[in-house]
């Protein structure tokens, strides 16, 4: 078996292993994501909530606790 055949086989194996690992990682990530509670999953606002721009933003009193003494 010449060196080219060995290298070619090694590249083939490395590619196949990478593709399999990529598939498994993606599946594992999707399963973890799918198992999360719904409220936690969808954090991006969907119409109901305006995008928060900092110039418009006035923190509600409950978000500015007394412990924020230096603010």
């Amino acid at each position: 078996m010449d060196i080219i055949t060995v290298l070619s086989f090694a590249i083939f194996i490395a590619t196949v292993i990478t593709i399999v690992m990529a598939g498994i990682s993606y599946a594992a990530f999707k399963i973890r994501d799918w198992r999360r509670p719904e409220g936690e999953v969808s954090r991006a606002p969907e119409g109901a909530e305006d995008t928060l721009f900092f110039r418009k933003y006035v923190p509600p009193a409950e978000e500015m606790p007394e412990r924020d003494t230096n603010a």
């Binding site: 080219i4 086989f9 990529a22 993606y26 594992a28 999953v41 606002p45 412990r67 230096n70 603010a71």
Partner: protein, 454 residues
């Protein structure tokens, strides 16, 4: 302080002689690659004429992909080199030290928040304040950060720590921007650590009125396993090389989350960070560019960050980046076909689509094709030569980037694994992310587990 970070922080500025050496080395590598690449292409086209139709079509596709790949590398390296030259010839001078407000959003960063704040207090800059926004952490982030509240050092640097109900990074940053007062604002991640001269290096670019923001240089601090080393290499060779090339034209299209410096008036104009995409940093940068401002890259404004240590965590991160970038482009889809925001911005959006869609698809397809040709069609020579030339290309690019970035040469040998394993794995993730984005699959932000190595 861990090894790589200690080494990174301890790097001293090279002298003029050193710069000349790097300059020559960079030029040599660019010329070598340009010549070598086209030589290889020429050889490959005549070496093994394919016979079956599938093999012929595959060969044509592969050679086209190779040409695109070579051109991409060539242009990125060439423009990054021009940027490097420009820095050497016209180094911007710092004439004044405007006040900088550093905003640190933190969500469950208990393991790293203290070292992060400590690194900020060591910054070599006369006038800055630190505002830490705890985004409703479940751990002791807030308590740990509060220990730093008050005034520190000879410059009486003020540290403020605020807390709020969990609302996401964009909101935390916006709140920090709202309560701070510096004309320049540095936004970072709670898990990042800055090098002492970061502010001085970044602020000097604002002497030009056209510059609205400066993107810093993100480096990987944890380099323990192969995956982290490959990411360290990718940050230098993949992400920073692109940023440096874009920096030459002042059109950096993603200011990285771990370090970005902005004019306050720019943030006022664009309305700060928005939380309707999963890549708020990319979204904000595009907003800034669309408003006519220019964005520069500063390689010596360095932020060290922890990279994902497992393939699963890496996938989660890249999946979010991919979908976030696509969402940011989609928000501006009108500008893809109209020059209302200027032809440069249209070009940027198309370039982002190329990098986000075409480039990964091309890489995955070419890998599949050349493995198929090598294994089932008897073109093993072709597959091996293809791999060798890509590896030579990656090695050359890694050498160039390491020289330009004054990074560790020990990273260069890992470029052997870069193409055959890392790039393929990341590109598959990008493709799957793109597919999910097109199908509107749900997703969560996801929180990377910190190892506390900062």
């Amino acid at each position: 302080m861990s090894g790589p970070l200690g080494a990174g922080v301890g790097l001293e500025r090279a002298g003029a002689r050193d710069d000349r050496y790097r300059h020559r080395m960079g030029l040599f590598v660019v010329i070598f690659l340009a010549g070598g690449i086209f030589g290889f292409l020429e050889l490959q086209g005549v070496a093994h004429p394919p016979t079956p139709l599938f093999a012929r079509v595959s060969m044509i596709l592969l050679l086209s992909f190779l040409l695109i790949l070579l051109l991409r590398y060539f242009f990125l390296m060439w423009f990054s080199y021009l940027d490097h030259l420009e820095e050497l010839v016209h180094e911007p001078e710092i004439k004044q030290f405007p006040r900088v407000s550093i905003i640190v959003p933190a969500y469950n960063e208990g393991k790293v928040i203290e070292s992060s704040i400590r690194s900020l207090l060591e910054l070599d800059y006369p006038d800055f304040e630190i505002v830490v926004i705890d985004d409703g952490s479940d751990d002791d982030t807030y308590q740990k950060a509060r220990r730093f509240e008050g005034y520190h050092g000879t410059h009486r640097t003020r540290v403020r720590v605020l807390t709020q109900r969990n609302g996401g990074k964009a909101r935390a940053l916006n709140r920090g921007i709202a309560v701070s007062d510096g004309p320049l604002v540095l936004c970072m991640d709670g898990d990042s650590k800055l090098t002492p001269d970061t502010l001085k290096k970044a602020v000097r670019h604002f002497s030009s009125r056209a510059i609205g923001a400066v993107a810093g240089n993100v480096k990987v601090v944890n380099r323990g396993n192969l995956l982290c080393k490959l990411q360290a290499l990718e940050y230098i060779e993949g992400l920073n090389l692109t940023r440096k090339a874009q920096g030459f034209f002042r059109i950096v299209n993603i200011i990285p989350g771990p370090i970005g410096i902005f004019r306050r008036e720019v943030l006022d104009q664009v309305g700060g960070y928005s939380s309707d995409t999963y890549a708020e940093d990319c979204d904000l940068t595009l907003d800034i560019l669309m408003h006519g401002w220019r964005v520069k890259y500063e390689p010596e404004a360095i932020a060290y960050t922890e990279a994902p240590e497992t393939l699963g965590d890496l996938y989660r991160q890249r999946y979010r980046w991919t979908r976030g970038i696509l969402q940011s482009i989609r928000k501006r889809k009108g500008a893809l076909f109209r020059f209302s925001h200027g032809p440069t911005n249209t070009l940027i959006l198309w370039y982002m689509l190329f990098e986000g869609l075409l480039w990964p698809a091309m890489n995955v397809l070419s890998n599949l094709l050349f493995v198929t040709l090598g294994t089932f069609y008897g073109f093993s020579h072709f597959a091996v030569f293809w791999w060798i030339q890509l590896t030579v290309l990656d090695l050359g690019a890694a050498l160039y980037c390491v020289a330009i970035e004054r990074e560790s040469l020990a990273l260069v040998p890992y470029s052997v694994f870069y193409r055959v394993f890392f790039v393929l794995a990341i590109d598959i993730c990008k493709l799957l992310g793109t597919l999910d984005e097109l199908l509107g699959a749900r997703m969560s932000w996801g929180k990377l587990e910190r190892s506390g190595r900062l």
